[in-house]
Amino acid sequence: MTGPMTQESINQLIDSVAEELLMADPSNLQDLGKILDCFQKIQQEAHEEGLIRAADAAEAAGSLVRCMILDEVSDREETFDVISQTVSALQQMMRPGVDAENIFFPEKLPLSAAAKNKKDKQKFILPPHIDEEIYSDFLAERDGVLEQMESHLLVLEKVKDRETIADLRRIFHTLKGEAAIFELNDVANICHGTEDLIDSSGEELPIDKLLKIKDWLKDVFDALKNNHDMPQLHEQLFHETDAPQGETASAAQTVQHEEAPSQPVETAMSGDIDLLLDFVSEAQEHMDKIDNELLSLESNPEDDETLNAVFRVFHTLKGAAGFLALNDISRLAHITENLLDLARKGNVILSGEKIDVVFESLDLMKKLVANLRQAVSVGKTTYASESTLEATINRIEAITIGKTIEPAEKKTEHAVEEQREQPAEKAPDVKAKEQELQPQQKKAVVKIKESVKVDSETLDQLVDAIGELVIIESMIRQDQAVISAKSSRLNSNIRQMDKITRELQQLGMSLRMIPVKGTFQKMSRVVRDLAKKGDKKIEFTVKGEDTMLDKSVVDKIGDPLIHLVRNSVDHGIEKSTEERKNANKSETGNVILRAFHKGGNIYIEIEDDGRGLNKDAILHKAMEKGLVRDGQALSEREIFNLVFLPGFSTAKKVTDVSGRGVGMDVVRKTLEELRGNIEIVSEPGFGSTFSLRLPLTLAIIDGMLVGVGRERYIVPTLSIVESIRPSREDLNTIANRGEMIQIRDRLIPLFRLSNLFRIEGAKDDPTEGLIIVVEDSGNMTGILVDELLGQQSTVIKSLGDTLKGLPGISGGSIMSDGKVGLILDIAGIVKLATTENSMTFSKT
């Protein structure tokens, strides 16, 4: 028992704080700091001694001192008086023989707040930098999370399953991070403690306790949703883990903000071009530096020093930009800083999309600073913002709280030039600053909509059903009985039904559409990595990243894109800056990745300004590998296409970066599976462009219905170049290459569907039939059919496993008469025609 000793030391502390108070200047921070120190010690010792009232009073007095330090009190003198009176009361209380209960503390001492902080209710106030919508969204999702928590716990009560435990822990971990963002400190603390509890319990989880915690969390979130006071935190809830440390927030809330936030410098900076230029060059220098640090964070996301270095750059950028009234930069830096701060504190781990957005923010920041430099260098008073700013800020905000939002509202457009001049005061302006100080939520452009999670299978079924509806609708519309019906009401109803069906079809398609952004973002990292490894300077630009594509397409193009981007960086861009300089190019190589819409297709292009493809080398190699015969005359396009052949690789040696994973042949194969194709345009010395064409959706295909004998087939419209009826002199049979047809100055293989599918009764003479010229990856082939039957959109049906992989057929479809039509696999047919025609189908 240290009783008397400790009591004595408490008395001494109280005396010393009384002394300090006498000497102190209520506006002197040093004095206040010392006083706060004393109160904290008194609180601690009184608490240890079981003198709860004294401890509470010391805590409350301390919280007042904190408010004074933070300049959050309206009347310093008065607050100071309250503190002094408290100390007197404390002195009395500690006298021997005095009944502590008879001592009264000043009314204005936020005693109850101090006490409540520990265990009682408090009203939660949303931190000012958090968007209310994000907050309400966060709350809306809590029920699901808590339900999951509960169901995990119930499972664990019966079966000890490591995975479920890990998942449960993850739920608490995530919740902790999210709660920390909203400064729901009690929740964050409880979650933190629960994580520890789970860790220390091994497989024997205290289920009851965890359920109680879950119930408490439920109460908290229910209260927050209904804007009630926060529920009490039961102390027994959490004995062995750290009880949440009450913030002095509620004490702070009892006093008011007195001073408005300071305003930016009004005069000193105006028109100070030098200063702006300084800012630009320093900002660029710092940003270049953290590029590497971000990269190393990728592999080691919890390296404190690096995290802090990155944080510091954004933090400093924010501060300096604030002075210079560069609002865009300041805001972007601020929001990124928030995320980094959480990472620094260990609340989130910077991986996956979290590091992606930091990269993205850095990129955007670079653009903004570059725009600023440009503007300043020509003495302009405005500098260009970036159209992606709001979206990026919103995304970072969303990711900061642990969710991804798709900028669904963004209209996709092939933005040729994304920059847009936006008036932004360069000269600092009080008014501009005031606007900036307004809550930022008003500026939010991308709203987080209520959303329902649907598993993609259900979605597919829905899209499928819509497809069926489209077909049945067109069957009804084309039904003879309907066409001959005289009722004008029926006709107008049918028209209406047609319209609605079309809308439904559009909607169904759009459900599966997601932006390519996520995939594109990964590429930035690939480029960074490669550039660093290959010691190359590369500027990577991404355009049209909001372009929407069918989800399954987006999922599948990732690997091919990585390969192509690697290819551009590794082989496209010159090995050394000297090589570039000698070629009269900038030291920094450029790689551009863009996506855009054109004619019902989506194009993704990877362009570099490097060496370009070497035709001779490709040809030489292809011959070496026996892919081309000697003396075979090939067009430039055909030569480029050789690189897609299996077994072809232009790299002299397989490097770490390019030789891995998918090869060019796999790239093309993937694209063909997606019913797209790839083409290369390349100019030696000026660079290459790989252009990927992809269908908007995989569910529906625009097709041309053709008849061969009694069979009907669907040819995807996007592969069709033209259809012609050949004359006799256009037809040739060439030794070793089979039947060929002359179309203007080109000689292309002629392919008979009737041969492949062994169709009886098909027209044998090409001059009587029709030749559909199709193209795949730059190779053209003529397909001989009997007749064209019409054009229609059809819903693609899988043929099932047994019929999968039939040569020449990619799928089936229900046609408007209810019968099944087969969809031709053009890529497959072209391949058959160009490689096997000579052997199998030649009729020499």
């Binding site: 506006s27 002197n28 921070l29 040093q30 206040l32 700091g33 010392k34 706060l36 120190d37 904190r66 330090i69 933070l70 930098h129 936030p261 300071s262 305003q263 930016p264 410098v265 009004e266 005069t267 000193a268 900076m269 100070d272 200063l275 300084d278 800012f279 320093e282 900002a283 710092h286 802090n308 270095a309 944080f311 510091r312 933090h315 400093t316 924010k318 501060g319 300096a320 604030g322 002075f323 210079l324 600053k433």
Partner: protein, 125 residues
């Protein structure tokens, strides 16, 4: 008003920030302004020169503003030099820590010359 001829040390790792603060100080009539880019360099300069006032950032590499402050207060020859902390509005905990470590005042960025003048007047008043 403080003596504008006194030597002032501005500590910040970001040179633009140093320059901004320097400009404001000049505007207020201060002539003898030196800069340091982190706490360590600042401490060396302080030990070698007759500085009367330190304006420092919080988060810096090598030595933070708080450590600089503590080192100043722990050194007999420096302990009486007034220190003004430059901070961002969200860093309340830092302010409390700084107050307990003996900072003279803090200022939230961005700030005006007027606000800085008030703070300096208060410190030297």
């Amino acid at each position: 008003m403080a003596d504008t001829s006194m030597r002032v040390l501005v500590v910040d790792d970001f040179s633009t920030m140093r320059r901004i603060i320097r400009n404001i100080l000049k505007q207020l009539g201060f002539e003898s302004i030196e800069e340091a880019e982190d706490g360590q360099i600042a401490l060396e300069k302080l030990l070698n020169g007759e500085f009367k006032f330190v304006i420092t950032d919080w988060n810096m590499p090598n030595m933070t503003g708080l450590d600089l402050l503590k080192s100043i207060r722990a050194d007999d020859s420096l302990k009486d030099i007034p220190v003004l902390l430059v901070t961002a509005e969200a860093e309340k905990e830092n302010v409390i820590q700084a107050a307990q470590a003996g900072v003279n005042d803090y200022i939230v960025k961005p700030f005006t010359a007027e606000v800085l003048k008030q703070k300096i007047d208060k410190i030297f008043g």
